[in-house]
């Protein structure tokens, strides 16, 4: 069953220099209990999709087109009041570097209690009890809820943020770079915790990261983004074994690994484009080693090539990648 369906989403930021075309015609579907990774380089629109789904856009951002169906209901036309009922209860988000946004003068537990009481009609005691249960769920001792943020390590703050995201029992969590600022050993324990919670609660997860190794470990399906488009979407094993889009292939070949034979990395030539004025046709054509005239002229359609394996490339399936 599909819990979230994004159809043809377009989201622009207006700036003095013109419109930044951050999300251009993105379609995605996520099934209940699935974990989906959104991977791509900085500025490719990963976070923009996350904040579009929750409609937490800054003043200069606007959704031009498309639908965001959450449990069958379109979120795009919803008012701010109606969205408040969706946020936290329906979908909650773990923001990038959120652990640095904890209020330093309040106890961490009280900050979670506050969030629960705003969204649900419960007494303070019930909210505190729930915080204790949430702390156990994320692998922390409930007494720690009485501490202030400065008494926590980075990993503990991130656990508290995860507890907060779970506070109102949401159907889905969007996690934006939840482990990026953490050291590798702490990162590993957080990833493990998230996977454990996901399995236990059958949580639907959308994981946003630039690090394909983290995505490979946490997600069943992966959507690869480039310059505001989702260029490929498949289950992780298929995506790694037989990518259809040259950008996916380029990304995989430029990532070093600690396991397996040492292979020479092949960088993708050029630089990601400026989204004020993106290239015509396929946005990747300026860097693509297989680009033809068609790629420059026509925008490729994002379509299903094999079962649940989507790509947006004129020559997908015809190229011998790898």
């Amino acid at each position: 069953m599909k819990i979230l369906e994004v159809n043809n989403l377009r989201m622009y930021f207006s700036t003095k220099k013109g419109d930044v075309k951050a999300v251009e015609g993105v379609s995605l579907e996520i099934g209940k209990g699935e974990s989906v990774g959104l991977v791509g380089e900085s500025g490719c629109g990963k976070t923009s999709i996350g904040i579009s789904i929750l409609k937490l856009l800054p003043d200069n951002g606007r959704i031009l087109d498309g639908e965001i169906l959450f449990k069958g209901e379109d979120l795009v036309p919803k008012s701010e009041d109606e969205m408040r009922a969706v946020r936290w209860n329906g979908i909650s988000m773990i923001f990038q570097a959120a652990m640095n946004a904890l209020n330093p003068v309040y106890k961490v537990g009280d900050q979670i209690v506050e969030a629960i009481m705003i969204h649900e009609d419960v007494t303070k005691e019930e909210a505190h009890e729930r915080v204790a249960r949430l702390y156990e769920l994320v692998g922390m001792s409930p007494e720690r809820a009485e501490n202030f943020p400065h008494e926590y390590s980075g990993g503990m703050k991130q656990r508290a943020i995860i507890a907060m995201a779970l506070a109102c029992d949401p159907d889905m969590i969007i996690a934006d770079e939840p482990t990026t600022a953490l050291d590798v050993i702490v990162q590993d324990s957080i990833i493990k915790e998230i996977k454990k919670i996901q399995a236990k609660l059958n949580m639907t997860m959308m994981y946003i990261s630039h690090d394909i190794s983290v995505i490979a470990e946490t997600c069943e399906r992966i959507a690869v983004m480039y310059a505001g488009n989702v260029v490929e979407y498949a289950d992780s094993v298929t995506l790694f074994a037989s990518p259809l889009h040259p950008y996916t292939h380029g990304l995989l070949s430029s990532f070093p690994s600690i396991k397996g034979p040492l292979k020479k990395l092949t960088p993708i030539p050029g630089e990601p484009p400026n989204l004020l004025n993106p290239p015509t046709g396929c946005r990747f054509h300026t860097r693509c080693p297989y680009a033809q005239r068609l790629c420059k002229e026509e925008v490729p359609v994002f379509k299903e090539f094999k079962e649940r394996h989507y790509a947006a490339c004129h020559y997908a399936g015809e190229l011998s990648l790898r």
Binding site: D183, I185, K192, S213, A216, F240, P256, P267, I268, E271
Partner: protein, 322 residues
């Protein structure tokens, strides 16, 4: 004779005490570290944040003064050089910093930036300098140099900026370069290009490279040998493939097991560590890792383990090795 022979290098940073604080506290950033680097080698200093790897790198190029110990560069102790002798030594060494957005002066044109070391070391006439700068730009694949030479950092992308930083390091023809996390701020598709460039330049100019990094997959790609640091101490040192395939130190094992692998089929065996990294302020005697180590015995909390060669070229500082 090794190019660089480091002996018992120690750096303590004094903490400002309060008005009534009698005891002076020190951060033991690097403590009693000894190693050799051969000419033409690419040597990795790896570990988690706060382990002392950057401090160690800065000591090697004498950006900071050591508290104790010796650094022999081609047989001469450079650890306590001052004034003109230090400036003379610096003709041979250069450093590349982590963040190319901060390490370039925004008011300096690319010409000014790259010519700065030449001016400081009083090399060449203005015309000769311009030619040297143009050559340096060609070396880092910024072609044609005329397109870049009179531009300013804000006009360039992150990858181009880091190439400028590499050109600035190369322009005085150093023998020895310390690169401090030069990839970590760059996007994945750009990163592989800069890594390949550094490896290529190392071969071409027979450079000796010290590579400071937290990313063991990057270290594996870049380095012949890797040293793992933990809270100011070097705990293991070996050829890269040997270290990754056959680690001895329990900390190295745990660190390696936590590195995510860009392959969804890979099932890692995780080694979980209890506790967290201790503070480097006045650490207790004994092995720094002992409180978190599952093999720790009494001796581990009483004596400092010494880095010893357990196999040909494989050095470990652990009482319970093997």
């Amino acid at each position: 004779m090794p190019l660089l022979d480091v002996q018992n290098l120690t750096k303590l940073f004094a903490l400002k005490g309060g008005l009534f604080q009698k005891q002076q506290n020190f951060v033991h950033a690097v403590e009693d570290v000894s190693f050799q680097i051969e000419k033409g080698e690419s040597f990795g200093l790896a570990g988690e944040s706060g382990c002392g790897k950057t401090t160690c790198g800065k000591l090697l190029v004498r950006l900071i003064d050591p508290t104790e110990g010796h650094i022999y560069f081609k047989g001469e102790d450079i650890a306590y050089l001052k004034g003109s002798a230090l400036k003379e030594f610096r003709k041979n060494v250069q450093m590349i910093f982590q963040d190319p957005y901060e390490s370039l002066n925004p008011r300096f044109s690319i010409m000014d930036t790259i010519a700065e070391p030449l001016i400081i070391q009083d090399i060449g006439t203005p015309e000769e300098r311009e030619e040297l700068v143009a050559n340096a730009l060609k070396t880092v694949d910024l072609n044609p140099p005329e397109d870049f030479i009179f531009r300013f950092p804000h006009e360039l992308s992150g990858g181009q900026r880091q190439r400028i930083a590499v050109a600035r390091a190369l322009v005085i023809n150093p023998e020895f370069i310390v690169a401090d996390e030069p990839m970590s701020m760059l996007d994945v598709s750009i990163r592989a290009g800069v890594m390949n460039l550094l490896l290529e330049l190392k071969e071409r100019f027979n450079l000796t490279l010290v590579f400071v990094t937290h990313d063991l997959a990057v270290a594996r790609y870049m380095c012949n040998r890797v040293a793992i640091m933990y809270v100011g101490k070097m705990v293991e040192l070996a050829e890269t493939e040997e270290l990754i395939g056959n680690p001895y130190h329990p900390y190295t094992k745990a660190l390696l097991s936590a590195v995510p692998v860009p392959d969804p089929k890979e099932k890692r065996e995780r080694i979980e560590l209890r506790g967290r990294v201790p503070t480097p302020i006045n650490p207790p005697p004994g092995c720094r890792f002992a409180p978190r180590c599952e093999y720790a015995k009494e001796i581990c909390t009483q004596q400092d383990p010494v880095l010893t060669e357990v196999e040909n070229g494989h050095w470990v500082a652990c009482f319970q090795r093997g």
